[in-house]
Symmetry: C2
């Protein structure tokens, strides 16, 4: 097992009716900026619950943080927050709203342009933020990461800041999510777990079991929640899986990959494709390309999650990849570039971008621009 | 899934050589009281490492926190700490040292007698404490619980305070632990997990998988580490399992039992038997007594951990209990009261104590004094 340091201070407040606790959790006297995405929180009752809970606070609302939040939008929020002297942020929405609000939190205490913070990649000072999470997917409600895009240059980069002080997760708010968002959330969670699992075997038997526990749970509940989103217990399972998939609980003492994400981000940056859908395309292609290297873990995943217990290692690895791709397809997601009308020009553009940035991705840093091109060829 | 609130702020610093980080983690200028148990840290190199790391701090040492730490001892530490005006505590040892130091931390800011704090059960104010954990077992290094005994009255009660600010776990320090302590630590971890798992089925499929992941890992590594304690990766697995077994990571949204612990505490209080050994005796007896009620979970554990996949539910539950008892015996632990020379008079004394305190234990509060007596009869 590798040495590690783990800490996750976020207070997780989980369950039916928990949005009402907002009033207790935010320190009295704070000037709160509440950030939102589009209008879905107005139709699912979340907005009213938040409004009611915050009735004794001075609040400013900022609306319109889009999917794959854009620095152009976030700059406006920072300007407004500085003007109103807010000293607490509450993100109400999915991962994009929470991610975007992490940049706002840092930007409020920074004199320069917010994109500089993204390019630096880390920040040392930010206004405290909390979240009401409405979409199980990114894990942003319990980690310090964010992914921010820049419209102007079609770029998308990761940025690390602070965890939310607390996050409220009420599974009932997911009952009315669009089916596509649920499917993308399942794929996103699945791939988050794989980024921390599908590397070298034998690093931590407990982390392996916990990672497998999340994906087994997803595989068990996915058919049912794709049919009926109003099953509280299953949506609660899904919501908890999504949070636990990316809060470092399964990353103790193990190396991590993240090449699928880095390649997926480029597909979103260039084509606007939803994050989870990009991952469903890239992951099977990456596994086909790096099968020899990842063989032992592919065999282990096949046995423990897909029940593949016979055949040679090569055959078992192949079947693991096929089962995984079939799982994504069963959610109604694209799993090949062609499904999303993405052609060879994009492959070459991503290779060019990676060459320019001289990337070396993956757990061993050996996924170069050329390897990324081969992975994308294997996604056709 | 039940509603829940989860938060665990402890910074976990895990791996070879990590004790040296102490100097970075304790705020400069703190007057540190370092607490120890017996002298084992003098022979395994831990004392020298701590001493070296703290060379720039003003420190006071307190030695002699015993197993099942006694309030009589802890009062002396509190007196010394107040006299020396310490404002940071560092527990160096196993669960008893860390538990005892949690009471010292609270006692330093309390004017009355420390036993009052134990009887209150919770504390609202304490000096910050951290730990260098040397014995995988109690999970005290990453939770807010402590169990404190009183020699005078042969009583032993749980008490809740604050989590350690950070805990350092270096698996190499476990290489020289007495075999009995390793065996008791495995049983303790196993039973901690069961207290959070062996209740009602279908509460959280992820928490079930995670709990099963810990006990499967323990079952896999136990024979090997009982033979050879110097296998770093396996001792690291064990150490991580012990911490994750009682830091609330597997308790989200599920009810908990804890009757085995409450009965076990009495066996320790009356006979001085090591905590883990009491649990190895009580757990199988409790399962035999409450088999009908816990049937669904016993069958699930049997299938997923012991590979018991055929027979009626009744047969599967019986085999699960037998396999678990056999596992404890394979560690060299007693699993019956007679193995520890405990007779009927103790059973009656525990029933009397529980009647006097009018206890109602277990996930449904239906383990009364009379049920506890029946459980103990089933441990003969």
């Amino acid at each position: 097992m590798e040495n590690f340091i783990f800490q996750n201070p976020t207070k997780l407040i989980f369950g039916k009716g928990m949005i009402a606790r907002l009033a207790k959790e935010i320190p009295a006297g704070k000037r709160v900026m509440v950030t939102f995405g589009g209008g879905s929180v107005r139709t699912n009752g979340v907005y009213e619950q938040v409004k009611e809970a915050l009735k004794d606070f001075e609040t400013v609302e900022f609306w319109g943080i889009e999917s794959n939040p854009k620095v152009e939008t976030l700059r406006e929020a920072i300007r407004l927050g500085k003007e109103k002297k807010v000293d607490f942020l509450l993100a109400v929405g999915g991962g994009s709203v929470i991610d975007g609000t992490k940049l706002i939190a840092a930007g409020l205490l920074y004199d320069g342009d917010a994109w500089d913070l993204v390019l630096k990649g880390v920040c040392r000072n930010a206004v405290p933020l909390a979240a009401v999470s409405t979409l199980p997917a990114t894990g942003s409600e319990m980690n310090n990461g964010a992914v921010i895009s820049r419209k102007e240059t079609a770029e998308k980069f990761a940025f690390h800041s602070f965890n939310p002080v607390f996050s409220i997760l009420d599974p009932t708010v997911t009952f009315t999510l669009p089916k596509w968002q649920v499917a993308c959330g399942i794929a996103d969670t699945f791939v988050h777990v794989m980024e921390q699992y599908m590397t070298r075997p034998g690093q931590s038997r407990l982390m392996d079991r916990w990672a497998e526990g999340i994906v087994r749970s997803l595989v068990e509940i996915a058919p049912s929640i794709m049919e009926n989103q109003k099953d509280y217990d299953k949506m609660a399972d899904f919501m908890l899986c999504a949070t636990m998939g990316l809060n470092h609980f399964i990353a103790m003492g193990v190396c991590e990959d993240w090449a699928t994400h880095m390649i997926g981000h480029e597909l979103t940056a260039l084509h606007g494709l939803t994050h989870g859908a990009t991952l469903a395309i890239v992951l099977p292609g990456l596994w086909r390309t790096l099968k020899q290297k990842k063989m032992a873990k592919l065999v282990q995943l096949g046995e423990r999650v897909w029940g593949i217990c016979d055949g040679s290692d090569e055959e078992r690895a192949d079947r693991t990849i096929e089962e995984t791709e079939a799982f994504f397809r069963s959610l109604g997601l694209p799993t090949r570039l062609g499904d999303a009308q993405i052609g060879d020009d994009t492959i070459l553009e991503i290779e060019r971008r990676f060459m320019k940035r001289n990337v070396s991705l993956g757990e061993d840093g050996d996924v170069t621009a050329e390897v990324a091109r081969r992975i994308l060829e294997n996604c056709k």
